[in-house]
């Protein structure tokens, strides 16, 4: 238990340091921002910080960094923060799409063939129930893929793994932000 909390604490500290660093760079970069710009700066630095804690080992962190770097102004910002080679360019999606299309067409044929066989074996109603269940799962997987950054081209197994990692990182992010927010709130309240 102690080791676990120790690890998460170090993760939180790392995230916090990078986040504050990013915010400082941003505020030096651009003075006198209005509230929306400030919010954007905070969120950007938070996202970058939490993505960099993974050191580009997970798909979502790479995608997140790449998405942020797409914007030109942000790119300079990103490169300033992370002078070391953590920012990795996203893979060319075309190659992946081609491969997945080929595999998908094979799977479609196979699936239709299997449903024919099962329909003969099991009777029509069971097949329908099964297909409905599959459709539900498929729809939800689609939604999940849209939520997790970089989840579009992943198959079910790695998608769940990425989701796990992403959830943990999001929790760290929320936790640290919440504490900082309450600290700031208390400081301004007592002043």
């Amino acid at each position: 238990m102690k080791a676990r909390t120790g690890y998460s604490t170090s993760l939180k500290q790392e995230f916090l340091k990078k986040w504050i660093k990013g915010i400082r760079i941003y505020s030096n970069f651009k003075k006198d921002m209005n509230i929306l710009e400030r919010k954007k700066a905070i969120k950007l630095s938070a996202d970058l910080a939490i993505a960099s804690t993974r050191n580009a080992s997970t798909r979502w962190s790479r995608t997140l960094t790449a998405n942020i770097s797409k914007n030109e102004t942000n790119k300079i910002f990103v490169e300033q923060i992370f002078s070391d080679s953590e920012v990795i360019k996203k893979e060319a999606p075309s190659r992946l799409m081609a491969r997945s299309n080929r595999i998908a067409s094979k799977k479609i044929w196979r699936r239709s063939h299997i449903t024919q066989i099962k329909a003969r074996k099991m009777g029509p109603y069971a097949v329908k129930a099964r297909s409905i269940a599959k459709k539900l799962v498929k729809n939800r997987t689609k939604v999940l893929k849209s939520l997790v950054p970089g989840g579009e081209n992943m198959d079910g197994i790695s998608l769940i793994k990425e989701t796990l990692d992403y959830i943990v990182s999001l929790r760290v992010q929320v936790d640290v932000m919440r504490r900082l927010a309450s600290a700031a709130e208390n400081s301004t309240r007592s002043l």
């Binding site: 939180k12 400030r38 989701t163 959830i167 990182s169 929320v174 600290a183 709130e185 208390n186």
Partner: protein, 383 residues
């Protein structure tokens, strides 16, 4: 309860969004105090993960019984499409113990172990692959052995009875068995070839065909895939709060989606709040305090010790005339186990406000002695 919480949060968040153009400061301050509790309820502590570890450790002992039960259950099922979750209980038993020990590590997302995790899974897959290889070979050997036995019997019969029919029978049997053999080997080869073409490394995934199950190579591969998915869903169950009772992929995915969405919305909301609070984005002092707080929270629970750690940074802050921020260093809005912590720490929170009025050192000594932190009081005196 979870649905209600979520709806409540959504409502509040929308409210906060609409109130933004008005006096946003007030609305922001009112919300979080309530929302903290909500968040605590939502953002579970590590209890779920502890449970998952306990669950993961159990199957190792029950493996044999579980396996038998599963075999019996399989016989009663005609197909295994809807057994995603019924099978998963036993699939845990089937899983190699090393993978069973993986969930807590994944849930914790330990950096060092995470790098090793894909390796571990890979090695588990390799071990599974060896098993499958052996199962194929075992089946082949069995067939060959049967074949040889039949040949011997046939020979014996021929010697005894000298009947051509039996010889023919044995021959036909042999041919059928050999044809079966060929089919299996061809299936094996095709499977092996397909695997080789898919992955350059020879890590086959080997699955033993269970009783009453199709031994088709495709269905075996599908079963492996399903098992992997259900295994990972189990990890997610431990991570997402309130998912212990839910069985079934669709509902689990639903919960996961909701959770991820709520976390993302929280990030948005908190970043907006931070932007609202700090007009200048000056986070230096809070940074220092938060770091101290993190360091303090890692120490063990003996209250005197913790209060000692916590009060020290507050003194540093007093010297630098940052009164209000020290409140934060003493404030611990952490997990339920820290309730005792909170009680002991809550009393010093009153201190800084008193210190604002009077001179620092004297007042702090008096309040320290009154609140009963003698250790801290000694430290103060030494200072």
């Amino acid at each position: 309860m979870d649905v209600l919480e979520r709806q409540w949060m959504n409502m509040k968040w929308q409210q906060s969004a609409t109130h933004l153009n008005e006096d946003y400061r007030l609305s922001m301050f009112s919300i979080p105090s309530i929302q903290d509790q909500q968040f605590q309820g939502l953002v579970e502590s590590d209890q779920g993960i502890v449970e998952l570890v306990a669950q993961a450790k159990k199957p190792d002992l029950v493996m044999e019984n579980g396996r038998n039960n599963f075999c019996r259950a399989e016989n009663s099922l005609n197909y295994d499409s809807c057994v995603y979750w019924n099978g998963s209980e036993f699939e845990m038993n089937y899983a190699i113990p090393t993978t069973a020990s993986c969930p807590p590590e994944v849930a914790v997302a330990n950096k060092v172990k995470e790098a090793a995790l894909p390796e571990k899974l890979g090695s588990a897959a390799r071990r599974e692959s060896f098993k499958k290889r052996k199962s194929y070979k075992a089946r082949e050997l069995k067939v060959v052995a049967e074949e040889q036995n039949r040949e011997k019997k046939a020979k014996g019969r021929v010697e005894e009875e000298d009947s051509k029919i039996t010889k023919q029978n044995s021959n036909s049997k042999r041919t059928t068995t050999t044809s079966n053999n060929n089919k299996e080997t061809s299936a094996d080869n095709s499977k092996g070839n397909s695997k080789l073409s898919e992955s350059p490394k020879p890590d086959y995934i080997h699955v033993r065909a269970r009783r009453g199950q199709a031994t088709d190579s495709h269905s075996l591969a599908e079963r492996v895939r399903r098992e992997k998915i259900s295994e990972r869903m189990k990890y997610l169950q431990g991570l997402v709060p309130g998912c212990n009772k839910i069985t079934g992929k669709a509902r689990m995915l639903d919960e996961i989606i909701n959770y991820v969405q709520s976390l993302q919305r929280q990030v948005e909301f908190l970043s907006m709040k931070l932007a609202a609070i700090n007009p200048s984005l000056a986070f230096d002092i809070e940074n220092f305090m938060v770091e101290e707080m993190f360091l303090a929270s890692t120490s063990s629970i003996p209250t005197a010790g913790v209060s000692f750690d916590v009060i020290n940074p507050s003194h540093i802050q007093f010297n630098s005339l940052q009164q209000g921020v020290s409140c934060y260093g003493l404030e611990m809005d952490v997990n339920p186990p820290d309730i005792m912590l909170r009680r002991t720490i809550s009393s010093p929170v009153l201190m800084p406000e008193i210190l604002l009025e009077s001179s620092y050192l004297n007042a702090s000594i008096s309040t320290f002695s009154s609140s009963g932190f003698t250790e801290a009081g000694n430290v103060e005196l030494e200072k």
